[in-house]
């Protein structure tokens, strides 16, 4: 039986420690991992907990991230609670197996500490890896700080393992900015945290020897489409109600409120920026300052990237004229993902919206308050004019002459 830890009400944890503490508290059966910067301390801390008797499960060292996720898939199909962590190049190597995990409907939780993708090689935070996983059929939660990273792990396990859902979930946090920045994190005691997620309930597990199953079967044009349709349908219709319910239950337990779409100063806002990760907190700070100056600017933080919160955003963007989509990933030849998704979300509405795209922060480049003030000023001009007053896509914070498109 695993030893318990007595936590202070508030612990000073970085995002990595917050994630590993949550993983310890839910008592995972199998963690198969191949550590990579900046997520290394998640599995390092977890291995430490296990070696010191705070976890009953197995820790499997593997030869690559492809092997790590493959090990997780096997353990999950066998019928265990399973999780791991990765970043960037490791995430890229996992991609093939990510689709296996979701198609096999295995509720694995993956902590992704977001980091840029080479080349050039870079260990710092941007959202390239998060974007790479967005069509993989996983649920994707986004944390803005260590507290979120801790809390969203519990939500992720609870939603993913629900027998109505049975889909894997990622919890994203920004590399270094969240993962290595120690902050005060409000904790939940071991028993309460475990009970929030509950005992793992196996489904179609291979270790149920009375009901032998074959996992990972082949289907061609005769059945493949139906399986994909089923998975897409469940992502589109079943996941949000379960996340809402989990957020409600979590608020009841801890007093901390999470929303699928986080809104700050959006009531009667003329202009908003939509962003993710640590940028949300910076943008909120700037928005507060500008609101105090009488400017109607707000911030929308995407809490759940997949499934895409179309209906929630339609609601949140009511009355907002200018939208700035802030993408922390190089779109490499098109608009940013957030721009495209938001444009798709608002295009059929009755209100005329002006949507523009800002690419920022690649490879850990800072997004400053000055940048955000400039963005808000441009968005307010767009709202005033009722049309774009800037190019549709601009790269901000990059050296040399201004770079923009369309």
């Amino acid at each position: 039986m695993a030893e318990k830890q007595e936590l202070r009400d508030v612990e000073v944890w970085d995002g990595n420690m917050a994630a590993s503490q949550a993983m310890r508290q839910v008592q995972i059966d199998v963690v198969a991992a191949y550590p990579i910067t900046p997520s290394t301390p998640i599995v390092e801390n977890y291995g430490n907990f296990l070696a010191n008797g705070y976890v009953d499960g197995e820790f499997v060292m593997v030869e690559s991230e492809h092997g790590a996720m493959s090990g997780c898939i096997g353990a999950s199909a066998a019928g265990g609670r399973v999780a791991t962590a990765t970043s960037s190049q490791g995430f890229a190597l996992m991609v093939e197996t990510l689709y296996q995990a979701s198609g096999m409907r295995l509720p694995i939780v993956l902590n992704v500490v977001n980091r840029a993708l080479a080349a050039p090689l870079n260990v710092n935070g941007d959202h390239s890896d998060m974007y790479l996983g967005r069509d993989s059929g996983w649920i994707q939660f986004d944390a803005y700080n260590p507290q979120d990273a801790y809390d969203l792990n519990f939500i992720a396990f609870r939603v993913a393992e629900d027998h109505e859902i049975r889909l894997p979930a990622m919890v994203h946090q920004d590399g270094f900015l969240t993962s290595h920045t120690a902050q005060g994190v409000h904790t939940i005691d071991d028993d309460t945290a475990y009970n929030f997620v509950g005992d793992f309930k196996p489904m179609n597990d291979m270790l149920d020897l009375d009901h032998p199953v074959t996992h990972g079967v082949q289907t061609e044009e005769d059945w493949h489409y139906e399986h994909k349709a089923r998975q897409h349908n469940d992502l589109m219709t079943k996941v949000f109600p379960r996340i809402e319910a989990a957020f409600d239950a979590f608020e009841k337990l801890t007093g901390r409120r999470y929303n699928i779409v986080e809104q700050y100063n959006t009531e009667d806002a003329d202009a908003v920026v939509v962003c993710m990760g640590t940028s949300v907190e910076t943008a909120v700070e700037v928005s507060n300052e500008l609101c105090a100056e009488g400017k109607k600017v707000g911030v929308i933080g995407i809490r759940v990237v997949r499934p895409w919160p179309h209906a929630q955003l339609v609601e949140a963007l009511k009355g907002v004229t200018a939208i700035g989509a802030l993408d922390r990933s190089s779109p490499n030849g098109t608009f940013g993902m957030l721009y495209n998704e938001l444009a798709g979300t608002v295009v059929n509405g009755e209100e005329k919206k002006v949507v523009t795209n800002y690419v920022y922060g690649l490879g850990g480049r800072d997004l400053t308050k000055v940048h955000l003030r400039e963005i808000f000023a441009e968005l307010l001009a767009n709202a005033e004019a009722g049309k774009p007053t800037t190019p549709l896509q601009q790269l901000i914070g990059v050296r040399g002459p201004k770079i923009s498109f369309h």
Binding site: T214, H227, N233
Partner: protein
């Protein structure tokens, strides 16, 4: 397969081997196991075969070599007595013929359309060992 809808099967890329629970499956004969519709045992792959092994019990010594070597569990043996070939799953690889130690062989390959009684009547005789 019945034309079920996209929302009518169990989720996951997963198939059940049996209908309902099973116990002691290892000691239950194949024909008595509750194989599910999705189990490959219930599917015939006879049309993969161009040549078939024919069994002649007159020469068989029940050594079980064919049963051990068959890669598709298509040699039917009961109480260590050779019974015959499962033509629904045999793919005609001829390994059973290759490993048969009797003289003449108790299993020989014939074209799929050959009549079994006819080839049994014309079975080769014992070959003399050359000194």
């Amino acid at each position: 397969m019945e034309n079920n809808g996209w929302n009518e099967f169990e989720i996951g890329a997963m198939l059940r081997s049996f209908d309902g629970a099973v116990s002691d499956v290892a000691t239950t004969l194949q024909e008595d196991r509750p194989y599910s519709r999705s189990n490959s045992f219930t599917a015939s792959v006879a049309d993969w075969r161009i040549e078939k092994p024919v069994f002649n019990k007159d020469y068989c010594i029940d050594c079980q070599f064919c049963w051990i070597y068959c890669p598709d569990i298509s040699i039917i043996s009961r109480d260590k007595k050779m019974v015959g070939v499962d033509y629904d799953h045999c793919k005609g690889c001829a390994i059973c013929v290759e490993v048969c130690p009797t003289n003449p062989k108790s299993l020989l390959m014939f074209a799929e359309q050959e009549d079994e009684d006819k080839v049994l009547a014309e079975w080769p005789t014992k070959e003399k060992k050359e000194k």
